[in-house]
């Protein structure tokens, strides 16, 4: 009897003391940390949307249309937040990723179709990131035949060796340079009355060029990969239906912040480039929007931001695509696997990196044009993802009481229909170039 007491009874004499302690200790736990841990995915995903393609699209929109397209940003904020929120909610309620749900609810054929669309869209975005790397380093006088292969090998190596996550923060910090647009916009002294008026007054032209810009704006803002991202990171964070409310705030906050930056990018390019009637053809010109703030260092500043944002996404996008596809089809996945263990996962990842790098190196390529075209591809494929998301989020068996409410559904379907209609128009206008120009 004695030894049993010796061995295990340490706690017994303290029982009374600590039983009182429980309440105190448990109450002492910092709850705030719990809340902060939930906040995150929405803000981060939305911020990541401002990548090479985003900067290029909004800079050229500002240069070409001045303040005339600012009105798009308000409906865009609402649509983006709604779409992101639906995916975040699905992640919280089901605990599963988007491609998991697509496979389990729609079967193999639909999954194949959606994954193909995602592969193309993400392939396009990956290309745009490598183009961003090329453009950024060309500003610093590094030719793209050097910068792009080095960057591609570095990204591939960092991801496969598992050290990418550590470098990621450096790239993230670099991309924060784009906050400079906010200051630059103020220093450029735009006509604020016009800015405000254009923010609320819709402007529309039925021309191929205008449609192209509009779809690029939508495509770069509500990118298909962002839906996959936010759902996965909500699942990964362990957010659940009970504590979901905070994530909803997080999603809206992130969206508003991201669009606010876009707002200032458009203003600063409009105030510096559009007033001189300049069309953006190169990164040098795009960088000029930062001159009110940085003067002669505008190009360097722009290059740093663009490089950081592009490197960040160039690593994450191919990886996320490979994960989505492997998840949907049940292939072995994980960066720590070998080619023999996970051929398709590593194959997709490598293919996208190589594809992005090769296209970005093609001689005589207009970098800004590539950036815009890839965003349009994104926009054209967006309806496919949106329809799938809407079907899933309204599936009562899956979501229970967390399905969309009626107003939400109307807003989401209106978004989907408008985006689809615009996509069809863009496809038509590129197939039949004279379709709209004659009506002008």
């Amino acid at each position: 009897m004695a030894n049993e007491r010796d061995v295990r009874g340490v706690g017994r004499r303290l029982l009374r003391r600590s039983a009182q302690g429980v309440r105190r200790t448990v109450a002492r736990r910092p709850r705030l940390v719990g809340y902060l841990a939930v906040i995150g995915p929405g803000v981060i995903t939305a911020a990541a949307g401002n990548d090479a393609g985003g900067i290029a699209t909004f800079a050229s929109v500002g240069a070409d249309y001045g303040y005339k397209l600012l009105w798009v940003l308000i409906p865009l904020t609402i649509s983006l937040a709604i779409v992101q929120e639906m995916c975040a909610r699905m992640g919280a309620v089901t605990g599963k990723g988007l491609s998991d749900l697509i496979r389990e609810r729609f079967g193999v054929r639909w999954t194949t179709f959606v994954m193909l669309a995602l592969l193309i869209a993400n392939g396009g975005v990956t290309i745009s990131e490598f183009v961003g790397i090329a453009a950024a380093l060309e500003l610093l006088r590094v030719p793209r035949f050097v910068s792009v292969p080095v960057a591609a090998v570095a990204i591939w190596w960092l991801v496969v060796k598992g050290t990418y996550q550590r470098v990621e923060r450096v790239f993230l910090a670099m991309s924060l340079v784009f906050l400079a647009y906010v200051v630059s916009a103020f220093l450029a002294h735009p006509p604020w009355a016009t800015v405000l008026a254009e923010t609320v007054r819709p402007h529309f032209e039925l021309t191929p060029v205008f449609l192209f810009s509009l779809v690029a704006v939508i495509g770069t803002t509500i990118s298909p990969y962002m839906q996959v991202f936010i759902q996965s990171s909500v699942v990964e964070k362990g957010v659940r239906a009970e504590n979901y409310r905070l994530t909803k705030i997080d999603v809206w906050l992130g969206t508003v912040l991201a669009i606010l930056i876009v707002f200032f990018i458009v203003i600063s390019t409009a105030a510096t480039l559009n007033v001189h009637g300049e069309h953006i053809e190169s990164a040098q010109q795009a960088a000029r929007a930062l001159r009110p703030l940085a003067g002669p260092y505008a190009e360097v500043l722009f290059a740093i931001g663009l490089f950081g944002a592009s490197m960040l996404a160039a690593g994450v996008l191919p990886l996320a695509t490979a994960y989505s596809i492997s998840e949907a089809f049940g292939f072995e996945k994980g960066v720590s696997s070998s080619f023999r263990e996970a051929p398709i996962f590593l194959g997709v990842f490598t293919f996208l990196v190589v594809l992005g790098a090769s296209v970005a190196m093609m001689p005589g390529l207009s970098l800004i044009n590539v950036l815009l075209v890839t965003q349009v591809i994104n926009g054209v494929l967006l309806p496919i993802i949106l329809i799938v998301v809407l079907k899933l989020v309204n599936d009562r068996e899956l979501m229970g009481s967390h399905v969309n409410g009626p107003i939400y559904n109307v807003a989401a379907w209106v978004t989907t229909i408008i985006v689809s209609a615009l996509s069809v128009l863009v496809i038509l206008s590129s197939l039949f170039p004279r379709l709209f120009s004659s009506s002008r």
Partner: protein, 411 residues
């Protein structure tokens, strides 16, 4: 041999060969058997689902189903307990392959006619995927990778009533570390279901291998009595950590439901903050009074009803019933020493100790520096409170590895 994908959507013919409905699903009755038998079919006729019991079927083949009568009994379909619908609950879902220790996705289901039609395996191959995608003439007859249904440890379906009865036994063939890794690959609901399906002991060991937040989530959602039972089987330090991650009311409730002895061990650890030696330590260790001889000490160890995991270090205290730490003996020295020698002569004194409020990382570093398996934690009076073991210390020192799942965009 049939594949589910080949028979779905095929016509159901009556005795005269008249097409009466379309095959929508195959119902299987799960039980103790390795290969569960087909119990019936779901037929679809005019946008409604009907149930066809097995005995009404005369023929089941690639080109469809034939009834044994010319009457179609239109009883509406209702799922019963223990029944699984192959198309709805199995196809495209994930399951645990116990043999391969991995999570796979079902591309097709294999049905073989032996004494009866039975589900024999889950096709997880690319060929299975291709069979469902490609038109018939492009399909290859290549042999496929099929997981024997007997090795299916867990089926991640949303139909709560159909959990495999035999899955508990199959999963426990795996090491808790493996079960934890597999459970974490599923959604939190399914992960919780897996843990719940295990016996208390295995569930406790499995939980200990999972991420802290996940442990708290799973135990927090579980039936309180069951959660308390599992907590009792966990090591006190792990149990205390979980309780601290739970909401206050929940933690108190679970603690109160635990047996006295385990409760007191856990309760003692609760007041310490996470990042201190107290938060890191466990109360499972062996103390021996200094006046014993080596032989008596060994005899005591053998007599112990429940031996703590950590008995490589035996802590020598000032006397019977005392907690005052005076020395330590490694189990190896105890075995090698002269049986009649008193412990005081064999023990080492002047040992490394930590205090309950010491920084956890520093304590961990000390353990690794001095190559210890454990470090005792003492209070101001020199009484031993607990020990920090090397495995807990390691967790603190090792950098968090690259996550296997979809990486966070930024962490």
């Amino acid at each position: 041999m049939l594949y589910l994908s080949q028979v779905l959507g095929r016509p159901i013919l009556d005795l005269d060969g008249e097409r009466v409905a379309v095959l929508k699903d195959v119902i299987v009755r799960l039980g103790e058997e390795d290969h569960p038998p087909v119990a019936g079919f779901v037929a679809r006729y005019r946008r409604r689902d009907f149930y066809l019991p097995r005995w009404r079927i005369a023929q089941f083949a690639e080109n469809g189903v034939r009834l044994n009568s010319d009457k179609l009994d239109l009883s509406p379909f209702m799922r019963r307990d223990g029944e699984v619908m192959l198309a709805r609950d199995v196809l495209d879902k994930q399951l645990i392959d116990v043999d391969g220790k991995r999570v796979v996705r079902v591309n097709d289901v294999q049905i073989i006619e032996a004494d009866d039609w039975r589900v024999t395996g889950a096709d997880v191959s690319l060929t299975g995927l291709w069979r469902r995608l490609a038109p018939a003439f492009m399909r290859s007859g290549r042999p496929v990778e099929v997981i024997d249904w007997a090795d299916v440890g867990y089926l991640a379906t949303d139909a709560a009533t159909v959990q495999l009865k035999s899955s508990r036994g199959k999963l426990t063939r795996l090491h808790p570390v493996e079960i934890a890794r597999l459970a974490e690959a599923f959604s939190y609901q399914h992960g919780a279901e897996i843990v719940e399906s295990l016996d208390d002991e295995t569930a406790a060991e499995t939980l200990e291998e999972m991420a802290a937040e996940r442990q708290a989530q799973i135990l927090g959602d579980m039936d309180e009595e069951r959660a308390a039972d599992i907590l009792e089987h966990m090591s006190p330090d792990e149990a205390a950590d979980v309780l601290l991650d739970l909401p206050e009311d929940k933690a108190e409730d679970l603690l109160n439901r635990m047996e006295d002895e385990e409760q007191s061990e856990v309760a003692e650890l609760l007041p310490y903050a996470d990042d201190t030696a107290g938060g890191l330590m466990t109360t499972e260790f062996v103390t021996l009074p200094r006046e014993l001889t080596v032989g008596e000490a060994l005899a005591r160890l053998r007599e112990m009803a429940e031996t703590p995991n950590m008995i490589y270090y035996l802590y020598v205290v000032a006397g019977e019933g005392s907690w005052n730490l005076t020395g330590v003996i490694a189990l190896r020295s105890l075995i090698l020493a002269d049986q009649s020698a008193p412990l005081e002569r064999v023990m080492r004194t002047g040992i490394q100790v930590a205090h309950a409020n010491d920084d956890a990382t520093e304590v961990a570093q000390k353990i690794s520096e001095y190559n210890l398996l454990a470090l005792p934690v003492v209070d101001e009076l020199g009484d031993i409170l607990g020990i920090v073991t090397v495995d807990d210390a390691m967790e603190l020192l090792l950098p968090k590895g690259w996550r296997q799942r979809l990486p966070r965009l930024l962490s």
